[in-house]
Point group: C2
Chain length 237, copies 2
């Protein structure tokens, strides 16, 4: 299967600027793209599409790439189909997914990804690459017509993965508990991707990069860690 | 409007047994009910209905109340309609809400609540009393046919409310950020209810009880705190 994905847990790590920790990887990922289509629909903090676009554009200006906001295109579907690269930023996964359905962009996105056009996602923009968005951390502030996502990879992604805090006195569920609950109702593997780590998927090869191992949740198994040196090909089934 | 609600943030506070901190309040709330119908559909940790029921039953045995699991009734709707008291436990809000829709229990629940039958909710069981479940903290592990909830109160509830941790280096959204994002897309007031605190609603009177103030989120306003001594009647509109 053709695909060329950079799947990041977060756009920003603590104490660093927007996409700064990923700069070299972004340049490499989009080496052959002069123009990149930006999908601002996740609207972090309720930002407008244009506010979010202008924020992201500064980073891409600095690396000499032209960023085009999909919200500014008169024909979004064709704009996407002719994209040389796509970047979907983080924010609220439900808001993002609903906007993709409302604007009939799910199939065009699947198609362009399957043609091997480089796609980068951070946080919610990564989440939608999975089978479903059902391992998002976000609040369901809008109601999308389905939880089914792009399925560019067969597993589900939990971005911003956090380990349980042994000192916590909070009685709400830990991330691990939530993902285990997910596996009572769903069968796909879940990857807990920590901030600063990311997947690179080139066709049928997947690699983990960044400082942390990934936590793997499978039905009927205790969760376990896989490091960036180990084989992750089982994730692509 | 008739209603008799005990809306708790959590069933259990740190270092204490199940419902232990609420024991006196539960006894008072269900003083006139010999038999209480338990709704186990939120399935915490993926527990079966019967496992969850047996767990909750121990507490009610200790206070001399008969607990009846709705999942064990041949006619759930009539069982609910003839209930003397209702308790909906926590777990996953999406799983709970979907089960209520699937079993056609939304309207019967609304009706029995509107007759003033005492209802107690903890966590997810509280969340469903609001206008919608869109301020839940839970993962969307199943897809309910709607996010609309019971509307026994006109506001939304965020149980297990947590203040931002100023020392955190995590880049995921804080609870406050998430609720502010909710208010970009929705108009109802949100109440951030901390663990150990709870609302009592008797017809058109609402009181906050427990050790903490409640954090109020309204569109176009900075969030603010209201203590248990202050008037909360604006919440009932």
């Amino acid at each position: 299967m053709n695909r060329n994905l950079l799947i990041a847990s977060t756009s920003t790590i603590h104490g660093s600027g927007y996409l700064e920790y990923l700069k070299d990887k972004v340049e490499e990922h989009f080496a052959d793209a002069n123009q990149i289509v930006f999908v601002p629909f996740a609207r972090p903090g309720g930002a407008s599409h244009e506010e979010y676009f202008q924020f992201a554009k500064k980073f891409f200006d600095n690396i000499g790439k032209e960023l085009v906001g999909i919200h500014n295109l008169s024909d979004m579907v064709n704009g996407l189909r002719s994209a040389e690269g796509i970047f979907t930023g983080g924010g609220n996964t439900f808001v993002l997914l609903k906007a993709l359905y409302d604007n009939k962009l799910i199939k065009p996105l699947r198609d362009v990804i399957a043609r091997g056009i480089p796609y980068m996602g951070t946080s919610a923009g990564s989440n939608i690459l999975g089978a479903t968005v059902q391992t998002t951390n976000d609040m369901p502030i809008v109601y999308p017509p389905s939880f089914e996502a792009l399925g560019a990879v067969p597993f589900n992604i939990n971005p911003h993965y956090q380990d349980p805090d042994p000192a916590s006195q909070h009685m709400g569920e830990t991330r691990e508990t939530r993902i285990k609950e997910f596996l009572h109702f769903n069968s796909q593997v879940v990857t807990g991707l920590r901030e600063g780590s990311f997947f690179k998927v080139a066709d049928d090869v997947i690699a983990l990069q960044g400082p942390f191992s990934v936590r793997i949740f499978e039905p009927g198994k205790e969760p376990y860690e896989v490091s960036s040196e180990e084989d992750l090909s089982f994730l692509l089934g």
